[in-house]
Amino acid sequence: MQRRSFLAGSLAALVGTAVLGWRFWPQGRQPLLLSARDNTAGEHFAVGYTLSGEQLFATQVLERCHDICMHPLLPLAVFVGRRPSTHSYLIDLQTGQLLQTFTTPANRHFQGHAVFDAQGEHLYSTENDTDEPGRGVIGVWKLNSAQRLQRATELSSFGVGPHQLLWMPDGETLVVANGGIRTESGSREELNLDAMEPSLVLMNTAGACLSKEVLADSMNSIRHLAVASDGTVIAVQQYQGDWQQRIDLLAVKRPQQAFQVFPVAEQQRSKMQQYAASVAIHDELRLVAMTAPRGARVFIWDLDSAELRLDAPFPDCAGVAASAEGFIVTSGVGRCRAYDCRSTNIRMQPLSLPAGRWDNHARLV
């Protein structure tokens, strides 16, 4: 088998649909929902629940986490520290045991997202170089035989303030959302709102920049990504400028095409309050779902035609992940919900999971 086709096959589970980790999760068992979550006392946890509400683990961590990345072969996941945290957490998904709290080198902090490569040998994390505030770094970590992550090297993200990164279907190309915002060590304060530099970068693991594209408005911070198995990339934005501006918050890069606006009707755009949180693609159904917690709306569109499929209220909606039937969406204040998208009329069902305090991202195993 050619290395490229092997990687592409392995990566199928790492892009798009994102019902991940099938190699270890027993067939027929309820999917496992992974997320960061707080308790009522404001303590922070890495949690795993079945969709029927059974808690598999709730492991306390030092600070709020953001995204979760699954190991492709082993029952391991990294709960990535929310910026400007310098800590991330390697968790055993079968027991919830915290295997390792690993920290960034001096003058670096995590930006909330990371991905394992297809072999599960390396982890790539977005980081901020606080020596040169905002300079984007991709930290490269090696998972050793003792199941510990060690810093191997780092690459440039070719931009400022990198946030989410994902693999393209070839398994060798990373797509990076450079948010464009400079921040300093230990801070979330934006230093350059008048001179932001958001960009969407395609790069390889050798550290070469393959392409770098921008949107029309430099205050439109490119934050979160979803990648379909055909290589279509959806990016969602958080606009840092005036609330009155008519700014598109979704963009798409289709194979062999330029990065461009994903068309959204004004009726939906105006409900987003300039802030998109999470995005997910359902590969089989060719749908894209996005949460807008400030506008308290969840949206679903046809990925190919951009036809609106759902525009529904959902207070403080947060993480979104593709499920077999459609999407699972979590909430900071209410019950998590399942959206069954298999028929024309999308049906919503509240889930029997603990309500509220779910953080920005969710992953399904």
Binding site: Q244, Y275, A296, F314, D316, A318, G332
Partner: protein
């Protein structure tokens, strides 16, 4: 109008009957939804209908400026009363900005009205609908009928400004009709506060969370609306032109309207209220909140002059700072203590996302 109210009222009766589940959270959500929040929306809608008639009568020389200003103040008061009740359709799609533009640090209202009229000397309703939210709402209307730069007693000026005045009123009425329409019907907002699960709320606690959150945002807003002109954010240098409704000198009466609506949620109707959801173990908290509302009401009632005049008097400024502390107490008690007592999480990703 009366017939409309009766029809809505009957619709409400049936909805309340549907909600008779014995779940106090569900009953409270339904009761507050129908008898406090929806009713306030209807009053706002009615005030906008009156605003349309008023603008038309004034522009056809059938009404004087004093009455026109009173009708505006009535609409503005109804809008202020809605602030602690901003859940659902009015809180979506930047609709609230179409009604009032505040804070207005750069006097955009005056600047944009001038620019708009330069580009559209006789603006149609379509021009207003297409325009910036700054020129669509009550803030622009207030500028037209109260600003010292404009003299609507002068026939030439009246002719110049009347098309905009009338079309703002119609825009407001259409907005109110659209919003109130979305409260009605099987899948309307009122039904969503009554029967669970629905597309908006999975359970009554989520609806109560939304209600409490709107109340808390409003109480926080009271602090900003008073604190900004008081100079709390500008080294104690008073900023009278940064006050909400400074042109119509209605800043304090707007604050009173907001406090009364926040109190209406707290006291509720019959036995259904945020207050009654707190158990006997929270008796001390109930006492503190009752006292905090009473204190704020008394302090507000004691002011007899407009805010702009009070700001110029050292003693009165002290009294305004005391009122600010009362608003802060109310805000903290609701945001921290009531939320905790009800088991409500107020915002998470929406306020502190990434």
């Amino acid at each position: 109008m009366m017939l409309k109210k009766i029809v809505y009222g009957l619709a409400g009766v049936s909805l309340l009957a549907c909600s008779n589940s014995g779940d106090p959270y569900q009953q409270t959500s339904a009761a507050l939804g129908e008898q406090v929040i929806y009713q306030a929306h209807q009053q706002w809608q009615a005030s906008n209908q009156q605003l349309v008639s008023s603008a038309q009568a004034f522009c056809q020389d059938g009404q004087d400026l004093t009455q026109t200003r009173d009708d505006f103040l009535h609409a503005q008061h109804a809008w202020a009363a809605l602030q602690p009740l901003l859940i659902g359709p009015l809180n979506e799609g930047n609709r609230a900005w179409q009604v009032q533009f505040w804070p207005d640090k750069k006097n955009l209202v005056a600047r944009q009205v001038k620019q708009f009229l330069k580009a559209n000397p006789e603006p149609s309703l379509a021009d207003v609908d297409r325009g910036s939210v700054v020129i669509q709402g009550l803030s622009a209307y207030e500028y037209l009928v109260f600003d010292p730069e404009i003299d609507l007693g002068d026939a030439m000026q009246k002719q110049r400004y009347c098309p905009l005045l009338q079309n703002i009123a119609v825009h407001q009425q259409q907005l109110a009709d659209e919003v109130v329409g979305q409260w009605q019907g099987q899948d309307g907002m009122l039904a969503q506060l009554t029967a669970f699960p629905n597309q908006r709320y999975a359970e009554p606690l989520e609806a109560l969370t939304a209600i409490l959150q709107a109340q808390v945002i409003s109480l926080d807003g009271l602090k900003k609306k008073l604190g900004t002109p008081l100079g709390r954010t500008s080294k104690d240098i008073v900023q009278p032109y940064q006050a909400q409704s400074w042109r119509s000198q209605a800043s304090l009466s707007n604050l009173s309207a907001e406090v009364e609506s926040a109190l209406a949620l707290w006291q509720g109707v019959d036995t259904h209220s945020l207050r009654s959801l707190l158990t006997t173990e929270h008796a001390e908290l109930v006492k503190q909140i009752d006292a905090a509302y009473l204190q704020a009401q008394h302090e507000l009632a004691a002011f007899k002059q407009p805010l702009s005049e009070l700001l110029q008097d050292e003693q009165q400024r002290k009294a305004l700072f005391t009122l600010y502390e009362s608003f802060d107490r109310l805000h903290r008690l609701h945001e921290k203590e009531v939320a905790r007592a009800l088991g409500v999480q107020l915002g998470f990703n929406a306020h502190d996302g990434d």
